[in-house]
Symmetry: C2
Subunit: 295 residues, 2 copies
Amino acid sequence: MSSVKHKVLVLSGKGGVGKSTFAAQLSFALAGQDKQVGLLDIDICGPSIPKMLGLEGQEIHQSNLGWSPVYVEDNLGVMSIGFMLPDPDEAVIWRGPRKNGLIKQFVKDVDWGDLDYLVVDAPPGTSDEHISIMQYLKATNVDGAIIVTTPQEVSLIDVRKEINFCKKVGIRVLGVVENMSELRQQIEIAEFKITGTDGEEKDVSEELLHQLRTHAPHLLSAFVSTTVFYGGAGGAEKMCRQMRVPFLGRVPLDPQLGKAADEGRSCFEDAKCVASSTALKSIIKQVLLATEKNG
Amino acid sequence: MSSVKHKVLVLSGKGGVGKSTFAAQLSFALAGQDKQVGLLDIDICGPSIPKMLGLEGQEIHQSNLGWSPVYVEDNLGVMSIGFMLPDPDEAVIWRGPRKNGLIKQFVKDVDWGDLDYLVVDAPPGTSDEHISIMQYLKATNVDGAIIVTTPQEVSLIDVRKEINFCKKVGIRVLGVVENMSELRQQIEIAEFKITGTDGEEKDVSEELLHQLRTHAPHLLSAFVSTTVFYGGAGGAEKMCRQMRVPFLGRVPLDPQLGKAADEGRSCFEDAKCVASSTALKSIIKQVLLATEKNG
C-alpha cells in the first residue's frame, strides 16, 4: 500500500443510490486517462463490482507476492469477495470480525503494485467495514471520501450521518454527488400508452409522434423530464452548504447507465449514455483536481 | 414476544430498492385493516422508519414493563434507534456486537403488547443484524420473509444470496416483490422540454398539450411509460421460478410514493399514489393470505 499515490473512498448513507455504479465508472474514467487504478470492493455481503466491471466468474490468483487482483485492462485491477465465492448465489453470512479480517487481507495481502489511484467501494452505513478500512488505510493516508446520495430526504438523513462519520474519523469529504435527480428521455424513444376500458394497454407512441410530425415537428426534439425523487428540502446542494462540504454535481437517472453497469461496460464509451456520462465527467474532473493538489 | 401472532421480516439483498418504504406501507395497510401492528426497524446505522412513519423527533418512553414503542395510531407501534439519538445527524459508528445487543433489547425489552403482526425492517445484506434477529425471534417462530428487489441484474444477484440465506437459517420466503419496474406518469402532468442552441431549457409542455387537445384529444389520457431499470435476464419473476419461491408482483416506480414516504404518510390514503398503491394492495393481500394460513 505504500506505492499508492491516491486513495479515494466511495461511500453512501443509504444503499441503492448508485454508489457502486459511481465507483465503477470513476475507475473506468481514471484508467481511461492512463492512470494505474485499483478498485477494491469491501461490500462483503453484496459485492456488485465484479458484475459492473464485466468480470463475473473470474478468479483471484495467488503469487509469491500475495493475491493478484483481477485485471480489466493492464492498468485497472479489481479485488472483491465476488471472485472468491464458488457459487455466486451463495450468501456470505458473516458477522463483523470475519468481514474485518478479509478487509485487512485485501489491504495488506494483495499485490496491488504501483497505483496512481486506489478506489474503495464501501457498503452503505457506518459500521464494521467502514471502521476497519479506515484503520487499515489510515497509516498510509487517504485523500478523502466521495459520498453518493439521491435527493430524497430519507437518503439525505443518512448522508448527514456519513459526513459526520468522516469528520469523526478524520477523513476529508471530497464532495457529495447527487444521483438520480431527474429522469430524461427523448420523446422519440419514450413509450406512450393508453389503458382501455377493458384494462388492456395500447401503445400510442407512433400515433403521438405522427401528430407531432404533422402539426408541430419542432417538438420532436423535446425530452420528457421526470422528477423521480422529490428533494423536499433543497436536495443535496443545500445540505452541502449547511454542512460545509463541496457539492460535486448532479447525475440524472439514466436507464442507459444502469444498463451499462449491468453489462459491465464503461459509460464513457457508449454514446447512448450521454445524459449521465457528461455529468459524470465534470464530477470526476473535480475529483482529480482535488486529489492531485494533495501531491 | 409470546403474544405476537405473526412475524414478518422485510429483507433485500441490495439497499435502496424500496425495502423500508415497503415495510412502512405494509404496516400502514395492516393497521388500516384493524390489525394490531408493531414495526421494528433493525437498520441501526441508517434508520429510515421514523421519517417514513411521520415520527421524526419522537422519543421512546420507559415504563415498568420495558421500553414503549412510539405510536402512529393506537394500533401501530414503532421501534427504531432513530428515536434514541439526541442528534438525528449523528453517525452510529458501531461494530457488530453493539448492534446485536440493541437488537436483542428491541426484541426482549420492548413492551410490544399483544400484536397481530410484527413487521421487521432489516438493513441490506446477510450479516450481524440478520443473524441476530433470526436468533432472537426463532424460538417464538417467524412466519417468513418478504424480499424486495429491483429488476436489475446487480440487484437480483444479491436477492439470490438473500434467498439462500433464508434457506440456510430455515426461514420461509413468503415471496419476492419487484419494485421500480417501470415509471408511469400521466401525459398531462409530465414535463416536456427542449434544449435550445444556447443550452437553455425551454418548457414546451403546454404547447404539446395544446397540439394534442386540438388534433388528437383522445391522446390526453395517455401515460408515459419508462423502463428505469432494465431487467436483462427476465427480472425477478423468472428468478423466482428458478429458485422456487413465490413472486408477489411488481410495483412501479412512483414518484408520488417516494413523496408519501418522505412525508411519513400512508400511500393508501393518497389518490395521487394510485399507480403504486394498487400494486401494493394486491401484494399485501397475498402476504395476509400466506401468513393467516399459519394460524
